[in-house]
Amino acid sequence: MKLLRMTPGKGDVLLAEGDPAVAEDEERLVEEFRRQLDLGMWAAVPEEGPAGTREATMVRDFSEVPLDAERVIFFPQAAGG
């Protein structure tokens, strides 16, 4: 699983990577996940639907991330423009 963050001037950057089934990796992923939410990011998990359609799910806690998710994408919270 990769934790990515969209950033100005760079595009996405890799924040952390690991296998959430491995305790040491999971700890690192959870820590980074929480840090990003504390920084005001939203987190989305891209998914592929049964008919091959592309979808996304917002997650607010690492426990909501499917174990087999390949990526979690962080981006700034939306604000009224």
Binding site: L4, M6, T7, P8, G9, K10, G11, D12, L39, W42, A44, P46, R54, E55, A56, T57, M58, R71, I73, F75, P76, Q77, A78, A79, G80, G81
Partner: protein, 138 residues
């Protein structure tokens, strides 16, 4: 000394290219093609849809007759690196809107400032974009 944003075209081109790759792997090849061809994305259900412009409002439309409905102004600003500015690359901006609409439309639309058509985008241009997109999708 306080750092501030300085435009850097080469850096921004690289960031946009990277963002397009993320758009493709996340929303799919067709979404990337739509973005590269029309400069926008769309999300639609049986009743209504949205045109997603980079750094501009979402425009809601009636999916049955194509009538434009409202502008929804939302921004994703990141001030963590002042030298890079606050705006995400355009392809990241549309992807962020696409993901938020797909995942939690109510939250995104609840955050947006709602304006009548024409506040930021020329309705005639939006109508042309929608017609061209629908023609291409058929």
């Amino acid at each position: 000394m306080r750092r501030r944003y300085v435009r850097n075209s080469a850096r921004e081109r690289r960031a946009e290219q990277r963002a397009r790759e993320l758009l493709c792997t996340t929303a799919g090849q067709e979404a990337l093609e739509t973005y590269e061809r029309f400069g926008l994305l769309s999300v639609e259900n049986d009743e209504y849809g949205y045109l997603i412009y980079p750094q501009r409002p979402l425009v809601a439309y009636d999916a049955v007759n194509g009538e434009l409905l409202s502008e929804y102004c939302v921004r994703f600003r990141d001030g963590s690196d002042p030298e890079a500015g606050e705006k995400l690359p355009d392809a990241d901006d549309v992807l962020a809107k696409w993901m938020a609409l797909r995942a939690d439309e109510r939250e995104l639309i609840g955050t947006a400032n709602v304006h009548p058509l024409g506040r930021q985008l020329d309705p005639a241009m939006v109508r042309r974009d929608l017609a061209a997109l629908r023609s291409w999708q058929r």
